[in-house]
Symmetry: C2
Subunit: 232 residues, 2 copies
DNA sequence: CGCAGCCTTGACAAATGTCAACAAACGTGG
DNA sequence: CCACGTTTGTTGACATTTGTCAAGGCTGCG
């Protein structure tokens, strides 16, 4: 396998402190593949054969039940996904599909578990990564249970603004129908929610969002670090 | 500190395989306390000073935002809680209060992190515990986003039935207002939801629940191991 | 006994979803 | 480059779900 992406992966928190030899073992065992958009990479319920790392493009984690589907997360470079299923050797709880043309590294779960048993620094890095994932998931639960869909959208926009460098104008990273699903609402409801935020200075044109007065929007959204902070 | 509970804690997956010496260090550093009901043990946003373990009684994890409050989990003996905040040395994302008179072990987070750095088996146990917590949280997200409140209640009852040994009659473990909050609905809505399940053979008297025909209820609830299974 | 908190019920309001229609954006093949 | 068909986004009308408020019954406890 071409190893040009090794340095990119090596600097991930997950791999940064592990033994070089173990890292090489993982890389030797892994595959790199390019996928077109809309390819289902994994399906919920199946055994976790590979730990996945997105090198470029983007991947959606989603889940279905009783004919309904919901977007749980969007993964962007460079990060891993479904680490928990890998270390527990348990079935995937979510499915994954590419959104764009994407380059993905597949590390056999078996090898990940083997090195996890051997490399203590790797095991520690996994702890921190999982703790982060868990806490992120708790934040999402709080967002869902404590806020209306309008409040979720408002806070999402404020988070995106921060991500875009604090600029008062930025582009949505995902299409609106996926955003709606991510926020736990229908596309129609999202459409109306954008309009409902107009009195707070939010205007939308395509996927371009403008926030005229951040304070005004914040007064409505009431962002809270214990829900919206994405760093700790 | 009285060490009569040490064996109970020692057998927890989290501590079962660590070095005896390290376990003793943790136990020596820790406190055991009895709390009356309705005591707020920790408050969201505060630094994570202690890893908590419930020896007896029960503890509710909850969170507030903008005047609203929601129940995120109920912890029963014998299990730990807020492990993620402890290992990340980050603020609690949830508050905790005793529901009953409860006996709690408090292990200083500092000590937990120190032993985590030293004891590889302990680090590995933490990985598995966090992976479990994370996956449980993903299940809850799916439950919330993919199901109506009536469906959530129906599946909750089926899970409780399993927990009660499959008997067609069992007691609710928490009061209804808390159950409502846990399921993401109001007490009034829960009251009506119970009635709405009557056509599927569910009858309720106080906190006693009878499920006349499990198949009937399952046909409505459509339980799914990727949401409702509590073992993997 | 009497108070306080929980649960239930009814009437109503707000939030959200559904369906249908249409417009706009996008991609593909000619 | 354009024409076409498909998908996405929007809007309106309406249905369903869920929440809110107020009242009353029940229960447990001092």
């Amino acid at each position: 396998m071409l190893d040009s992406h090794h340095p990119d992966i090596r600097v991930l928190d997950l791999f940064a402190n592990m033994e070089e030899e173990n890292f090489q073992t993982l890389m030797r065992a892994s595959y790199v593949q390019n996928f077109p958009p809309q390819i289902e990479l994994i399906t919920e319920g199946e055994p976790s054969d590979f730990l996945h790392i997105v090198i470029s493009g983007s991947v959606e984690l989603f889940s279905k039940w009783n004919g309904r589907e919901t977007c749980v997360a969007t993964i962007r470079p460079i990060s891993s996904f479904i680490l928990a299923a890998t270390v527990k050797n348990a079935p995937y709880l979510m499915s994954a599909r590419t959104l764009d043309k994407s380059r993905i590294v597949l590390i056999p779960s078996q090898n990940v578990r083997a090195i996890f048993d051997e490399d203590n620094n790797f095991a520690r890095a996994i702890v921190l990564e999982l703790a982060y994932c868990y806490r992120s998931s708790i934040r999402k639960t709080k967002d869902l249970k404590l806020r209306t869909s309008l409040e979720r959208l408002a806070n999402y926009l404020l988070r995106q603004q921060i991500r875009a460098g604090g600029d008062d104008e930025f582009n949505l990273q995902i299409e609106k129908r996926r955003l709606a699903s991510y926020l736990g609402m229908t596309p129609e409801n999202l459409s109306r929610a954008f309009k409902a935020l107009k009195p707070y200075g939010v205007t939308v044109d395509g996927n371009r969002v403008m926030i005229r007065d951040q304070n005004d929007l914040e007064k409505f959204a009431k962002p809270n670090p214990l829900i919206d902070d994405r760093t700790t």
